[in-house]
């Protein structure tokens, strides 16, 4: 089409995968902002660079989080996207909706924004993508009237998120949805009014499969696990054994990382004392094997992406914790960590980097946890020890 305003982007409407360009065009039928985005994005594709300006200072009254300010650096060419702010709406736990709830949200958004959304943002929020400063208060008021609130941004508690959990997963070792809701409600002030040195992410994963990547992406990662024996249905094991495409020895026993399983062609045995709860056997034989009954969670701390001091995976600080409401032990621990972070953290330093700087040993001492061998893969092999105790001549 010679009259297309987006000849480069039009190439991305070809192919079998749903096209984001088509989505922008659909939104542009209703909103000039979406048309502005299409045209600015076409320029980015032509010039191979972004046309969004740095940062922003907008928000709704009283909140420090929830709105990401965004301005075009080419507003003379694309006045409709001179402002193109993001509204982060706190998603329901587990990303469950009804059609009516989504229609309610879209009703607000079509009235006040670009008609473009993300389901969902990387942290988990329902994202309304692109509106003007003048619309922010109206959006917030209408959202709150219908029972919705904004999510986090900046140096605050970011919107907690979780896996599908016990709502639709037999692996869930605790109620991830309930905990996510509870923490979100308990920390409303910390979520809306940034008080930390930098961002703080909670992610709730129901089992060690970690479908929300909490171990990679959250400062405070709560991963469900269990302590007792894997439950086995011997009849169902036989069904797997009878399946010609399934090889219990090869696909299950040989893949066990702790070599705690054996199969003699008739009977599957598990040395549960040596099981590390990795989930592999349960994942591949879900009808025959189930997580144990003594369930809870492990708490890991400090995951983050590279900026500033390098990427980190979270590491264990509590090997097992009971996950029955009201989660007092958990909340006491969170309070102690925030107190520590407030005292020791510096700007733009995530808790994981702060712990690297002061040392894990010193960190756990200050938040009142005992050192445990589960916190490390091995004891140190470096002899430079900062001894604090010594004797003096009487």
């Amino acid at each position: 089409m010679s009259d297309s305003k987006s000849p480069i982007l039009d190439e991305l409407e070809k192919g079998p995968w749903p096209s984001f360009v088509t989505e922008i065009k659909k939104a542009a039928e209703k909103s000039p902002m979406a048309q502005g985005l299409l045209e600015q994005l076409e320029l980015s594709y032509k010039e191979k660079k972004t046309h969004w300006k740095h940062g922003g200072i907008v928000g709704v009254k009283g909140y420090g989080g929830g709105i990401i300010g965004r301005y075009s650096d080419a507003s003379d060419k694309f006045p409709d996207v001179a402002h193109f702010h993001t509204v982060r709406v706190n998603q329901p736990s587990g990303w469950f909706y009804t059609a009516d709830a989504l229609r309610e949200l879209m009703g607000i958004w079509e009235k006040h924004g670009s008609c473009l959304t993300n389901f969902h943002g990387s942290t988990g929020d329902t994202v309304f993508l692109g509106t003007k400063t003048s619309e922010l208060e109206a959006i917030f008021t209408e959202l709150s009237e219908k029972g919705w609130d904004l999510g986090g941004s900046g140096s605050d508690v970011r919107t907690p998120s979780c896996c599908v959990g016990p709502a639709r997963c037999e692996f869930a070792c605790y109620d991830t949805l309930a905990l996510t809701y509870d923490l979100t409600m308990s920390y409303q002030d910390e979520l809306h009014r940034p008080f930390f040195p930098y961002k703080w992410k909670f992610k709730m994963a129901g089992c060690p499969n970690d479908c929300v990547a909490s171990i990679a992406r959250s400062d405070f990662s709560i991963i469900g696990t269990w302590k007792d024996d894997i439950r086995m249905d011997s009849e169902a094991v036989k069904e797997y054994a009878a399946d010609a495409d399934f090889n219990i020895q090869k696909f299950v026993v040989n893949k066990c990382p702790s070599k705690c399983m054996s199969w003699d062609g008739e009977k599957l045995e598990i040395d549960n004392r040596n099981c590390v709860k990795c989930m592999h056997c349960i994942n591949v034989m879900p009808k025959a094997l189930r997580v144990g009954k003594e369930k809870g969670a492990a708490i890991l701390i400090g995951a983050k992406a590279p900026i500033v001091e390098g990427a980190q995976l979270a590491s264990v600080i509590v090997p097992f914790i009971d996950m029955t409401p009201p989660y007092q032990e958990l909340k006491d621990l969170i309070a102690a960590i925030w107190e520590f972070w407030d005292e020791h953290g510096v700007a733009r330093e995530r808790i994981g980097e702060c712990i690297q700087r002061v040392g894990l040993g010193s960190f756990i001492e200050q938040i009142g946890l005992k050192p445990l061998p589960q916190m490390v893969l091995q004891p140190r092999d470096n002899p430079y020890i900062f001894y604090e105790e010594y004797l003096e001549e009487e």
């Binding site: 922003g56 900046g154 940034p194 008080f195 040195p197």
Partner: protein, 81 residues
């Protein structure tokens, strides 16, 4: 407590105004300054309440530059001109 939350908010506002254009202050920096100034007469929770007063009255705003800071209201735009 000897210092009222309104008084504390006024004192915070003066601090933010004093540092304007020189150093961006985080919420916790401001509360720590207040605790240094007033000692045991204020605590962190009262500090947070005072910040809330400043924000709800729009005397100060939250800004974001790779982290959240508390500043005097800016003119609309992506960054100070």
């Amino acid at each position: 407590m000897a210092v009222s939350t309104e008084e504390l908010a006024d004192s915070m506002y003066a601090l933010v105004a004093e540092y304007a254009g020189k150093k961006k202050l985080k919420a916790s920096d401001i509360v720590k300054e207040m605790i240094d100034k007033y000692g045991d007469e204020v605590d962190k929770n009262q500090g947070k309440e005072a910040i809330r007063l400043l924000m709800d009255s729009e005397r100060c705003v939250y800004t974001y530059f790779g982290g959240t800071y508390i500043e005097l209201p800016h003119k609309e735009g992506s960054a100070p001109e």
